[in-house]
């Protein structure tokens, strides 16, 4: 999928300011950015729902209009025919995408089982909860086994159990061979899923790299330690021992150590363990949440999961 210098304005507002990007086949790419950054507009241009004012969009070597039947799309604003039965709705969307045959009803039932929604095929869409409706919409976007799957905020509004279910489903779709693009505010989800991250802010692309590249580029030299004793005392000892040049203590009982010049991380970890009894010691690594704040200049998602740190832990 290729976007070249795509621009789009709505009246005097320039929503997308010349974005270029390329997404490789079978990759899982995360579209990140704050609200109003231009993610949904970019996705709509990729889908050919709206045309760019200038620039070009190519999907699988053609336009998305030509490739609609090979694309699955979950829009940001969810929509169902409220009075239509669930099975009928999914079958209607599948038929619009070219899926026919006697096995369709069976396939829908199997998928409903898989999404932990058994027996809802005969129920009206309006009778389902919001989370259930969201899973039905996701099903409608993947029932035709698309080659390209575009999911706009697929996790918003889902509880942790359903969030995990959808996460597994996205992984399964990638394993099947689909190329997946999804937008999200949840940085930890992007970190858990993506091969590649594209960060959009104020209509411009500010980051386009694989997670491996990002880690190599942004991983810094530091440790995250969780001592069994007091954090202040541990920080002072680490500084006195010449392990760290700077130390920051946190209310959650952890201490960030910026390694002293010349100190190797593995050597410093051994020294820290010898310094005091530890619950855990880990290498401090780049996290998307901090990167997001740094690049966008504002807070990312305020969701509890989004602020969790991630590191390679070594039990003490």
């Amino acid at each position: 999928m290729l976007l070249e210098h795509a621009k789009k304005s709505f009246g005097s507002v320039q929503a997308v300011k010349g974005i270029s990007l390329e997404i490789a086949e079978r990759s899982l790419c995360g579209f990140l950015g704050p609200n109003g950054a231009g993610k949904s507009t970019t996705i709509r241009m990729i889908m050919s729902i709206i045309a760019p004012d200038s620039g070009s969009v190519s999907v699988m070597g053609s336009s998305a209009l030509e490739m609609k039947d090979r694309i699955g799309y979950l829009p940001e604003e969810r929509g169902l025919y409220r009075k239509m039965k669930v099975g009928e709705f999914v079958a209607y969307m599948a038929r619009l995408k070219g899926v026919h045959g006697a096995g369709l009803a069976r396939k829908i039932d199997d998928w409903l089982e898989r999404l932990e929604l058994p027996g809802v095929a005969k129920r009206r869409c309006e009778e389902l909860s919001k989370g259930q409706q969201q899973k039905i919409q996701l099903l409608a976007s993947i029932i035709h086994e698309p080659d390209l799957l575009i999911l706009d905020e697929p996790f918003s509004g889902l509880d942790p159990v359903n969030g995990r279910l959808v996460l597994e489903l996205i992984r399964a779709e990638q394993a099947r061979g689909a190329t997946i693009i999804f937008s999200t505010h949840q940085m930890h989800t992007a970190e858990a899923l993506c091969d590649k991250v594209i960060l959009i802010n104020k209509g411009e692309k500010v980051l386009d790299a694989s997670l491996a590249e990002l880690r190599a580029r942004y991983d810094d030299r530091g440790l995250v330690c969780e001592p069994l004793g007091g954090v202040e005392e541990f920080a002072a000892r680490a500084l006195r021992a010449g392990i760290a040049a700077h130390a920051r203590t946190h209310d959650n009982g952890t201490v960030d150590l910026d390694l002293a010049p010349g100190r190797q991380a593995t050597d410093a970890m051994r020294a820290v363990i010898e310094l005091a009894p530890m619950r855990s010691v880990g290498l401090r690594r780049m996290n998307l949440d901090d990167l997001f704040v740094e690049l966008v200049g504002g807070p990312a998602s305020t969701g509890t999961e989004g602020t969790q740190k991630k590191g390679a832990k070594i039990d003490a």
Partner: protein
Amino acid sequence: MPERAKQSYLGKVALIAWREFRHTALTPSFIIGAIAVPLLMIGVVVGAPLLLSQESPPLIGSIAVVDPSGTIVPRAKAILEKPVSIAERVEEIRKDPPKSTAEQMSAVSAMSSVGQQKIEVTWRAETDPARVDAIKSDLQSGTLLAGASIGADVLDPTKPSTPFDLYIPSALSPKHVTQISQAIQKAIEEERVARSGIDAALLDRLSGAAEPKTMRVSPEGAVAPEITELRFIVPVAFMFLLWITVFTSANYLLTTTIEEKSNKVMEVLLAAASPMQLLVGKILGYAAISAVMLVMYGGTGLAGLSVLAMLDLVPLMHIAYLVIFFVMGYLMVAAMMSAVGSAVSDLREAQSLVGPVMMVLFVPVALWFPIVENPNGTLATVASFIPPATPFVMIMRLTATTEPIPMWQAVVGIAWGFFCAIAMMWLAARIFRVGVLMQGKPPSPKELIRWAFVR
């Protein structure tokens, strides 16, 4: 296993059209509504007089008449209390046909109340003209139903008819006023005839003019009694049939488009089909619904005419015109409704945009009488070339049997109408493409036009 293949352009259109048809027409509410509407119309026609008759109030009270001759009160009493037969009432209506809608309703009511009204009236004869003031004060106090004053000149057969004074209280119903005034009028007429010495029965026999008994001979040679009113009713029925069937389904088109937008299902659909496929599918789906209604209601009308042996009033060419103008009218109204439906978020916003065009569409409904009476008049001719009124006016002009319209006007009207319908569809498609993704403030008509020409 389900098979996966690229869905064809027309395949998607057909799928969308079928969904719209299935989820609108094949629902209990639509089927009940479609059957209920004609039944309701029959019910209104049959039931309204019955309902009106039950509401006919009894006439009870006293009437005072200042009449120096003393002859009017006995005559008026006899006339008011005499049971009137339906034949006599029909004859009255025939001699003096109702002119306004109110008079028509009154006549229907009078027909239905024949022999059912309770009348208990005490008549008071006054010979002194000075008693008029006493009558007025009795009316003020509510002890009198009505009062009248008959001057001596009124009864003089050598002089032309002059008015008499009728006094009524403010609360007296119009029906009672008519009854009382007619009884006194008739009494004066009888007294004037009696005083002139003419035989009343002879006068009655001579005064009725010979009425033609019109028989209609069809092209096949069948002879049937002519009902002139049907010559007016047929074109109006055609117009209303078009109007109701087109507007019912176009209204569904408007509301479902708004619903799809507000339910946010529009973007899901646009991921599977192009705006044009969606628009064409929706329009075809509701066209099918409209056609079902046209066949159902039109078929019922034709069956009725067949029973009355009046099928020759609707020649085959009229049916062809109906189909042509149905397609034209539906395309025009559906284009309008789909464009507006795509641009707004609720019905209230839609009404403000549709309002001005609806004014034009009400022209054939409001002005059917002069159009049918004079299909070649300036009003009818001009109105038939103003879209979107064209199909509704043209069908009336072409099916009106009062006088044929020039063939060139029919041909130009059809060509012009379809040109406008296609232009409206083109504009609607352009507006739909932009409108379906717009949220928030509804556009102004100027913005709608701008959308139509945006890239």
